[in-house]
Amino acid sequence: MIAGLVVSPRARPAMAVRFGVPLASLIVALAVGALVLLAVGSDPVEAYRTMYDASLSGSAPIERTLTYATPLILTGLAAAVAFRMRTYNIGAEGQLFAGAIAGSWVALILPADLPSPLMLVLMLGGGLVAGALWAALAAVPKAFLGTDEIITTLMLNFVALALMNYLIFGSLSFWRDPRRPVPQGKKIPDAAELPLMSGRLHAGFAIAVVAAVQLWWLLRSTTFGFRLRTIGDSHRAARYAGIGVPVATLIVMSISGGLAGLAGAIEISGVTKSLEPRALAIELGYTGIVIAAVARLNPLGVVPVAVLLAAISTSGSSLQTVGVQVEVVVLLQGLIFLAVTAGEFFVTNRISRRPTATRPAPPSAPAPASVADVDEPSAGLEPMTASPTARTAP
């Protein structure tokens, strides 16, 4: 650190810090993004204004943004609940595909004249269960063998993607519309479509917001939420307290996978109306991880952050008109993720002037060399900040 400054852990970060630091990180990320845009010869001010106009000004853009935010809220919640327990489910992408495959299957196999509410409950329920089951493929080995869930959930993403591609592009499956020469999914019956709330915004958005509130309540005010947070802080402490870690792992992974699966079924019901791999494989699951990180794993925070990232995503294509490639969207997401991750240091640590009387400033040294001066971050305060319990060695 710079001579004269001392880093010490914060006991409990103040409200202003917990909200202010991610916000500042966001601004830093957008500033770095602006520099990148400048570097490739684009006007960042014009680019950002275009993005704002395309996503947040006027009712049609806002409806489009909220529609896009719907699956992102759910995948963000999926990541948030799992990361809270330091179970790194990065398989929301694949669990979403599983939910989409199952949800469309339910909608197509049921009689088309079923009452819409019943149809929707069965379809979305099917997606939820499928997502939870797909997550179980990683959760069961994790719970009973300690298998690293980061690797397994990620590998399963690629498997689910290939499976979905096979169902539409690689075969004449039940999901594919046989009447069309171009590979395309069969359209679901009208009864399986989510009702519209305003303009093109479907009711899935309300479902996602309700899920966020419920998850917030679950984590904050129930014994289960307390157990989950205890496990996130320390596996050993949880075991001493008599909390069953394997069972909690299974439950949390089911909730996480279920939320992602629900997102997949809602996308089918509200947006694509059929199993469309190209419309679904747009990294909704991975973006959920970014959202959870920016929201600092708070379910209520996931909602506004998801809307913000949805705004960035939906406005990407409009940037073509000002000569900026649509790929800038993922770049901005990455920068935001990075900035917020770095910002965690400032949430957990206080940087203050070293009192000159007690100890002289150390001789200036290259930055990495003086790191030994940094105190242990207050371990276990928030799972995002503390060091992970050593990855279970295989």
């Binding site: 980061i150 990620l154 290939a162 993922v330 997401q333 990455g334």
Partner: protein, 315 residues
């Protein structure tokens, strides 16, 4: 005899496995020092786009590989800053590298007047050894028909294995990864060693991505690693953090990735989507199998302080 299905697939497995091996080898070095960098996929992508750009402009394989490696190193330094200096959660930091790397590479690959997406490969990757050797029966095409990078990778594996177990530097690296406090007390510079190991890890991933785009695929495509970086991360665990085992594993995964090609010449009809799945299902299954193995064998393998930031207590 030299154009049988077996020989052709074995030869292609070596080429397809080389990027995974380079990335895994780098990650082994990084993780041996206690730094878990999950950003391999992102570093490979950034290394690949940088190398492809360098290749288009310089037509030099050496320069392109070097630029790719340095690009990977540059990204890994972000992780080192976050994970070693700022001590944020290493898992989250690594994941953020993946997203930054895929976003940055996609953006750079499609920017400018002549985007790399439409560019021709700037470098020729030629076989190294004289024709006569490659014409030897059986082992000729499998072992001697490759370009220089394949052989340099063998050298790198040998050097890494030797350095890890037989040199003071390797001992220091492993000490820092096993017990940073003891290493610190013994006078080792934990932070400096971890930065260096992370940098080597980034270089391996960057060169791996460079080789993938220059020699295996030949054109830049957005997101072209398609999970190769994650396979490399899995491979580190499967190989028990040992370089020679990583070499074996990488070629097995290379063979699995090239299975479509193999089955095609063997005239077996399997849907291509299932072929895509196979390496990922294999990695999934093997990670579970490894974790089911006896606990003692596992404890020996993994660096004890893997993923743990080190901070010296208040002096």
């Amino acid at each position: 005899m030299n154009d049988t299905v077996f020989v052709l697939s074995a030869a292609s497995a070596l080429v397809a496995g080389t990027p995974i091996l380079l990335a895994a080898l780098g990650e082994i070095i990084a993780e041996r020092s206690g730094v878990m960098n999950l950003g391999v996929e992102g570093m490979m992508l950034f290394g690949a786009v940088a190398a492809f750009w360098a290749g288009v402009h310089t037509h030099s394989l050496t320069l392109a590989l070097l630029v790719g490696g340095l690009a990977g190193t540059a990204m890994s330094m972000i992780h080192a800053l976050l994970a070693v200096t700022l001590k944020v959660n290493q898992t989250v930091s690594g994941l953020s590298l993946v997203i930054v790397g895929s976003g940055l590479s996609a953006f750079l690959g499609n920017s400018g007047d002549t985007p790399l997406l439409q560019a021709q490969n700037g470098v020729d990757v030629e076989r190294l050894l004289p024709r006569g050797l490659a014409d030897l029966p059986l082992i000729g095409p499998i072992l001697f028909g490759h370009d220089v990078v394949v052989y340099l990778t063998w050298v790198a594996v040998a050097v890494a294995a030797y350095a890890l177990y037989r040199t003071p530097a390797g001992l220091s690296l492993r000490a820092v990864g096993e017990d940073p406090a003891a290493a610190d007390a013994a006078g080792l510079h934990v932070v400096r060693i971890r930065y260096l190991a992370t940098a080597i890890g980034g270089f391996g991933a960057g060169v791996g991505g460079a080789y993938l785009v220059l020699a295996v695929l030949g054109t830049w495509q957005t997101g072209m690693t398609a999970g190769a970086g994650w396979i490399a991360v899995a491979l580190v665990i499967l190989a028990g953090w040992r370089p020679w085992l990583a070499l074996v594993g990488a070629y097995v995964f290379g063979a699995l990735r090239g299975l479509g090609f193999t089955l095609q010449i063997a005239q077996v009809d399997v849907p291509s989507d299932f072929l895509t799945m196979i390496p990922f299902i294999a990695a999934y299954a093997v990670v579970i199998l490894v974790s089911a193995s006896p606990a003692r064998a596992r404890r020996v393998a993994a660096p004890a302080a893997l993923g743990e930031p080190y901070s010296r207590e208040e002096r």
